[in-house]
Point group: C2
Amino acid sequence: MTYPATRELAKRIAAVHAPDVGEAARAGARNAALDTLGVILAGRGDACARLARRLAVSEGGAPVARLIGAEERTSASWAAFVNGTAGHALDYDDVDFVMLGHPSVTLVPALIALAEERGIGGAKVLEAYTLGFELLHVLGRAVNPRHYRRGFHATATLGSVGVAGACAYLLGLNEEQTMNALSLGASGSAGLVSNFGTMTKPFHAGQSARAGLVAAKLAEEGFTAAEDTLETGFTAAMAAEEIGPTAHEFADWESAVAPWGQPWDIEEGVCVKIHPCCAMTHPGIDAMLDLVTSEDVRVDDVAALGARASTMTLKVLRYKEATTGLEGKFSMPFCIASALVDRKVGIRQFEEDSVARPEIAALQKRVAFELDEKMAREDPETEAAEVWIKLKDGRELTRFFARARGHVENPLTELELREKFLECAASLTEEKALAAWDAWWRLDAAEDVAFLTAMLAVSVREPSPA
Amino acid sequence: MTYPATRELAKRIAAVHAPDVGEAARAGARNAALDTLGVILAGRGDACARLARRLAVSEGGAPVARLIGAEERTSASWAAFVNGTAGHALDYDDVDFVMLGHPSVTLVPALIALAEERGIGGAKVLEAYTLGFELLHVLGRAVNPRHYRRGFHATATLGSVGVAGACAYLLGLNEEQTMNALSLGASGSAGLVSNFGTMTKPFHAGQSARAGLVAAKLAEEGFTAAEDTLETGFTAAMAAEEIGPTAHEFADWESAVAPWGQPWDIEEGVCVKIHPCCAMTHPGIDAMLDLVTSEDVRVDDVAALGARASTMTLKVLRYKEATTGLEGKFSMPFCIASALVDRKVGIRQFEEDSVARPEIAALQKRVAFELDEKMAREDPETEAAEVWIKLKDGRELTRFFARARGHVENPLTELELREKFLECAASLTEEKALAAWDAWWRLDAAEDVAFLTAMLAVSVREPSPA
């Protein structure tokens, strides 16, 4: 390919016109936007979302973009931050195994806020989302899995660059400005996996939504940044050891960029979550749910139980047992125990009184969570998992899931997507939630995003955090 | 030491009381604050500072903290961002060779803005600065030089954590909150050396001032983050290869924390710049200035010239020749050429019409800038430089500077500091500038920081950027 890669990507983004984004990509982008808006509504009452909103309200700002699920409007960058944080609060938003992170919870809050501020219609939002998703895949192919192994949360790091590129398109920036936005976004990228299981994980989504949006706005005004940042500084810092003119050799940018737009990667869809917890727990949860329901296993019948997974899964799921809901989202033993006891791992299971049940506390200690040597040899990063139960009657049952329900290889139906949205939008009346679903489903034709976000305002005041 | 190191540092910060910070530390912090305020005033008209201000004004915010050198006030986090960016615009702010970056341009804007918002007096600002500087040294000892070699701009990355800790002290946070602020600040840290020579380098300072301040404010409200982030995720991502429970072994936190407060590192002072360009150019500039003035060398007498330096200096100074002032700040040939032609390397030399002079364009092409093998073997990171000139009469002259003027080992006098401040504060009348110097010099006794920042307002409207 032509170097610098950063400029090449900017050129491609700036060259896109509406007809280049076909129906399949628009549908994928719309589904992702709807799922994200649902989980923002569901997460808005979470403590980290309330604290992010309080900070934004106290800092103040021109009231041009709505805090989803709230009466207030604020500036675009604060709205992107608050909505991004709320959307990731429950770890219920979609996930992607090329970027190794969460694509929509960074792209959607930033694009919606910016479209609202500038009066940009829904069609362009869907195009921008399509490009942002494509860009996240290029970045993921270039730097993963080394980037993730190093301890970076790609939602924040790659997200910041992806949002910068998507917002650059939404603003109609030229190649030079887009290049500056990408490079500036790369300098604003951060986030550490060690903060998983705390409020700082959702903060990463908000931070990256905001950083990318700010990068694009500054680039629009004429702010400058280097034309080779992605393949030199960014690659070296995030996935290699050295910097300098030959640093592009540390990442295969040629292969990373080659599939650009042929077809758009979002046409395959994105991995939607049906459990509000780390994606690495999902195959284990689905396997356990399948096992306990198909075999009708009762807790009292169980003599021993456990799960086996690959290297990355064991690293990311750092909590052997969970004492809070946030920790539970990154604990395979907790998720397996909840699946066995409740036969469901939904929003309710991660609420504090649910986590505190003695039955759950006792059972999660009994879950053996171990490395599967064969899986680790074949693919250290795979999220596949096998669960097993030894029954008191001597029988031993196992189930293996390579891909969770909702994965692009195992997608949800439109009806299942809508059911999840309605569950997430419980703070709206059912009538309002259905009307919002229908209106947002026609996003491609919407001239006014502000009208759509107004449908997601919630007039109930929640208590302030303790 | 006791692990987690993150919690140990939080404990130390939360345990500090005013009497623990003595006169020497307060004087060091005051000098650093004054130098920083001066360079913010000098940089406020620079294009990147104007663009940052425009974005902040358009986003809006509660008017509680002043944009230095401007009429407007805005929210604390936007003020920290704008003032941080302005302060680093000219690369004229102080520098530190333990953090391998710029300490005051992140700490001072954040602390001043937050003190203004909360009505906190000057004495506490000086204490918070002292702790922030100490913390930056701990971080620098733990992760450098690998961190810098990897392509990170420590001003942004370590700065974000340093500011979080300093702001946590200013807000009077307890140990738990301070730990959360440090860990959250680490997740908000980024910045890439590849963006040197563009507006995005000053952006790093503003970004880190803002990120650290936001981290401390969220921690104050109860936001959570992991208690081991600095020695696991942060260390692994920034300076080592793996994550996991043993990752603290990749950095010697014991030695990094040991010198904490014995005495405070700021008591030795900080490296103040007398040239507004990358610190790695300074020994070369000082050597060339010394050579041309002591030997009275004229441009026409020169047959050939050059400079020799160590590995890191050659990497950081990435421009062989400069076509803009920003590139000139990271070009040894440009700086050497300016020193020879003008016998001064000040603000004026980096202005566009000055850079565009044919004499400078021609001369910088003639400067040989090469690796000194001996220096590289002994210390790859040293900023030391040797310059040489071959005269047409056959004589060959050389000068070696290990430490630039203004370095802590070669410090400026109070009078020299004040001269630099007055040069930087040219947008104020001389009377107002002197009054501001005197008032800020007594910062330790000031009950009202807002009164002091008001003295730095400038009522002249500048033209909007082209």
